[in-house]
């Protein structure tokens, strides 16, 4: 068992990785780098849309001004036509802005998914398992990567435009009347300040009750999962009341946070409404001639309407930024989780040299040390081992003694931190049967063919199954080779899955079998049968077998016993 040195709950990135790429924000930036032209396009389009907005406001204001004060010298229609063009330009450019944002988000996600897949095969199954089970890797690939979409599609474009577009509109307002411009200028900076204050307030409440809130949110799913248990315990009725109460508690707790959090949208609303109102009243009184100071005397209806039309647009980028702000928090959370996962495994010292072995030796480990974490006990230390072709070796020792690590090292799933490993070319491909056999979604036939030549005929598959101790006419395999195998090997028991894995190994024609507690799900009778046949098969074909086990019934059958204790070689005896 990996047990002692593989705690699945240990945080894999915890303090071990100092590379700057492991920092979530740096990680998000690195992902952006190859595709930043989309972001630039989004910014350009957004800025262009801002210009179109200014043109639209000017055209509308000017056409009204002309209609009321033009006295027929110039018609308003051309200006209305210009306004129509400005509308089309503005929304066309905004569509381009959003389109580029989406393009960016998709490009980044495709990259990241590829990286996850590539990292997984580079890490190998052992380090992969260190960093979460396959279900959580699948969620990372699907949900977590998707959770980055908003950050690239909306947040980053909004971030660049949140100063540029209001700045542009502000300049346009100042060009007409600096007092009106000042009114807009002063109202904006207060918004982020208040929002930040409110954000901190709601964050505080949220943190104080987060654990309880999460639990209540998950309560329903938990009870659905436990349905069988609840029914058998005659507790369904009580659970129903429980579910209702938990949902109600969840509502009360959530509302406590939301009531504060929603103040920030009220603040946004308040400042933009007040700014529009102030501009309108200032412009109105200036036009009436009630205001004598500054530029108020020269204000025209055109300038007044122009600034009024710009005022609501002035707050629009800020509003979009505020709406996409939570995308950032989500993305940073994802980055914090994914960044360390994509780091190469920590190697202390100099990685061991990997050479091709020659002569009768298939595998040679020389003074090999393997560590999973720099500050932890090594899983293997100073191991010296020579495996000759055709040898049948048992690796024995208590849980956590390094048996699995030794096998993983021979498989190439982990690298040695020091020493040297030599592997002969005919040790690849090899057959691997782990503690928990994985069967692939599909039919039994597809699973058997995984390691076999492509057109292996059915009778050969059946013969391999029989050698592995599971005949195709067994009552549990009603459809023979076409028996469907579902997710999680559904449809077969653990023992059957192990026998399928054996048949797969037989069919692959591999010269090296690495078996990690291969019979743990079998009863003694089946185990005995199976081992007798398999070892005879291997002996007849000169196949090298390495078995990690703690069962005497298994290792007493093998010609050589290598005993490990706390990662050190204790005994190497040939019977």
């Amino acid at each position: 068992m990996h047990g002692a040195n593989m705690n699945p709950s240990a945080d894999p990135g915890d303090g071990t990785s100092t590379a700057s790429e492991a920092h979530p924000r740096a990680f998000l930036r690195t992902l952006l780098q190859p595709h930043r032209r989309w972001l630039h396009l989004a910014w350009l389009a957004g800025a262009g849309a801002g210009l179109a907005t200014v043109a639209l406001a000017a055209a509308v204001a000017w056409s009204i001004h002309l209609a009321l004060f033009g006295q027929g010298t110039a018609p308003a229609w051309p200006w209305l036509g210009a306004a129509v063009l400005a509308v089309l330009l503005r929304h066309g450019l905004q569509a381009l802005r959003d389109w580029s944002g989406q393009q960016l988000a998709f490009a980044v996600r495709a990259d990241l998914r590829q990286k996850l897949i590539a990292t997984a095969s580079r890490l190998g199954p052992v380090h992969l398992a260190h960093r979460g089970h396959s279900g959580s890797w699948a969620s990372r690939y699907q949900e977590q990567v998707d959770a980055l979409a908003g950050y690239y599609a909306r947040y980053l474009p909004a971030l660049g435009l949140t100063l540029a577009v209001p700045g542009l509109l502000l300049a346009a307002a100042f060009s007409q009347d600096w007092v009106a411009g000042l009114l807009l200028l002063l109202s904006a900076p207060l918004i982020p300040v208040f929002m930040a204050l409110i954000g901190m307030g709601s964050e505080q409440i949220h943190q104080a009750q987060q654990e309880r809130q999460n639990r209540l949110a998950g309560h329903f799913l938990d009870r659905i999962r436990a349905l069988d248990l609840l029914r058998r315990s005659l507790a369904l009725e009580a659970a129903r009341q429980d579910v209702a109460e938990a949902a109600d508690d969840y509502r009360r707790l959530s509302m406590r946070v939301l009531r504060v959090a929603f103040l920030s949208s009220a603040v946004m609303e308040f400042f933009s409404a007040v700014a529009i109102g102030l501009v309108a009243i200032y412009v109105g009184f200036a036009l009436l001639g009630f205001l004598e100071f500054g530029p108020a005397g020269e204000l025209t209806l055109f300038s007044g309407l122009f600034v009024l039309l710009l005022a609501p647009e002035y707050f629009q980028p800020l509003r979009q930024f505020a709406q996409s702000y939570h995308d950032r928090a989500g993305a940073i959370a994802v980055g914090a989780e994914l960044a360390p996962l994509l780091q190469p495994p920590t190697v202390t010292g100099h990685p061991a040299a990997l050479r091709a072995a020659s002569g009768p030796t298939l595998l040679r480990l020389h003074n090999v040390t393997v560590r999973y974490e720099p500050d932890m006990q090594p899983a293997l230390s100073g191991v010296e081992l020579d495996i000759a072709r055709g040898e049948q070796t048992a690796v024995v020792g208590p849980s956590g003694s390094g048996k699995s690590t030794l096998l993983a090292l021979c498989a190439g799933f982990v690298q040695a931190d020091s020493g040297s490993v030599a592997i002969a070319t005919d040790a690849r491909p090899f057959a691997w049967i782990g503690q928990r056999v994985h069967l692939f979604h599909g039919s039994l036939r597809e699973n058997l063919l995984l390691g076999a030549p492509e057109h292996t005929p059915d009778p050969e598959l059946g013969a391999a199954m029989a050698t592995a101790g599971l005949r195709l006419d067994d009552p549990t395999l009603p459809h023979g080779l076409d028996t469907p195998i579902g997710e999680d090997s559904r449809g077969l028991s653990g023992g059957q899955a192990q026998r399928v894995a054996f048949a797969r190994a037989l069919l692959s024609g591999s010269r090296l079998w690495l078996l990690d507690e291969p019979t743990s799900a079998l009863d003694p009778q089946t185990e005995d049968d199976l081992l007798t046949r398999l070892l005879a098969h291997a002996r007849a074909r000169d196949i090298t077998v390495l078995v990690a086990t703690h069962q005497e019934s298994v290792y007493r059958r093998l010609g050589r016993i290598v005993r490990l204790a706390e990662g050190r070689l204790q005994e190497d005896s040939r019977v």
Binding site: V60, I64, A67, L68, F69, A76, V84, A95, Q102, A110, I117, A120, S121, L128, A138, R215, L221, D222, I224, R225, L227, D228, L229, L236, E237, A238, V243, A244, A247, Y250, R251, M255, L258, R259, F262, L263, F270, A273, V274, A280, I281, G284, L287, L288, L301, L305, A411, F413, W432, L439, F440, H441, L450, G451, P475, R504, S508, A521, Q525, T526
Partner: protein, 556 residues
Amino acid sequence: MSDLSFLGRLFRRRRAWTALAYLLLALTWSAAIALLALSGWFITAAGLAGAGLLLGLELFTPSAGIRAAALLRTLARYGERVVGHEAVLRVLADLRSASFTAIARLPLEAQRRMRSGDLQQRLIADIDTLDGVPLRITGPLAAAALAVLGAAGLAGWLAPWPAPLLIGGAAGLTLVASALAARFGQSRSRALVERRSRERVALLDYFGGLADLLAYRRTEPYREDLERREREQAGAVLLQERVALSADQAVQALVALSALAMLALALGWHEAGRVSAPVAVLLALMTLGLNEALSSLPGALWRSGESLQAASRLRRLGVAPTEAGGPPVQPSRPSGDLPADATFKVEELAVGFAEDPPLAAGLVFGLEIGQPLVIHGASGRGKTTLLETLAGERLPLRGSVILAGRRLEEWPEAVRYRAIGYLPQQTTLLDDTVATNLGLGLPELPDHRLWEVLETVELAAALRREGSGLAYRTGERGRRLSGGQARRLALARLLLREPPVVLLDEPFAGLDAPLERRILERISPWLQGRRVVLVTHAPDRLPADWTRLAIAPGGQ
């Protein structure tokens, strides 16, 4: 009942909250429109008055109106957010409770399907989709309708008939454009969901089977397959996103163009002397102000398809929308009492998945008090299936299981569960305290009873050391316990009951031999007093004088 009326009935219970939220949203938008329109009116009027073209402009009312609209917009927005979410969370509570009731009432086979993690996830996702309906779909639709009606009414009062017609037309066109976009989006979303779950299976194979793939050098084809799936998926989603964002911009452009058309019309009317200049500007700005209300429609309709699908799935599950409490889903007290002597035997029993061939057949045995029956046999031979049949979780293929003289399935559910204590192979714990897990379905028990059974299974010391004792939370799926600890807690739960028949499926899985021996010794007296079946793959660890029964293909 259609999916729509299902939704209608679902939200009817919370109609006060939802109606208030809609009103507040309509008020927010109306205030925003009023603010802009009134400001335009005021500026134009002031411009004319300043030039001496308009006499006797009253200043107090418009500036007070502008201030009132600004304040109202803020307050209504805050109220709408709070009330809207209150409504959503209340609907969520209703939905959870109604779904649980519905599932609890399902027949056993249908309930069993809920064991699939996929179905559970989809149920949760469906509920989350539906609880957002008032806030994200019906709310915007209702409030937009109100705002449009208000604006059109005002336009009709101030200007000739084309003005309200233009506003109505803009709203109608927006609705049509949004519906078309939504239809397009929905036609693909079902295929997307399916493709996604197939992708998940492929991912589980890649990550879970990596050792085999590397060993047999088959990573490349699997990797290419995943990349192809990703490309197809991304292409389809990107197309959807593009339609959605184009619909958004098209609707906004439509509203802006309508505002320009309104301006052109109104300026014409002004020249003809039918409306005043300030009113002409007000009409155009009012139309422009509808943008916020109308631009929420594409999103709302886009989501409505998802919600209808979610509703139809829940409806098929049997969720009744108006269920508040209803009759109990399971009687907790047996209606007929269990006879004092709960004899238990099987006659010519065949168990398995299919009649031909059964996993085991021709089983005949009876259980005696004090003589536990140990069932062993090769894996995959149906030990667990047999135990499930004995527990009444699965019907026999042939033959019968007889409890106290009657066939098992003839007993009322409550009697059966009380008579038979069953520890299945899979450990289930609630994400709750140790005390709750132990006392599940039992009347209040004194703490010392709980500690007693925890001592028996050697969990007491660890819990005392930890500090929170019986209040220790086991975590989601028992994650805060080790596998062996969880197993022992499940065993302790069974020990607290007094079932005359006990069925144990690998009760000591995950425990080392000495611990297993100590626990077995302690619970022996408890076992000796009842009728017991114990399934194991290591029969040699159990007392030699217990009866053995080996299951072999086709029989015993």
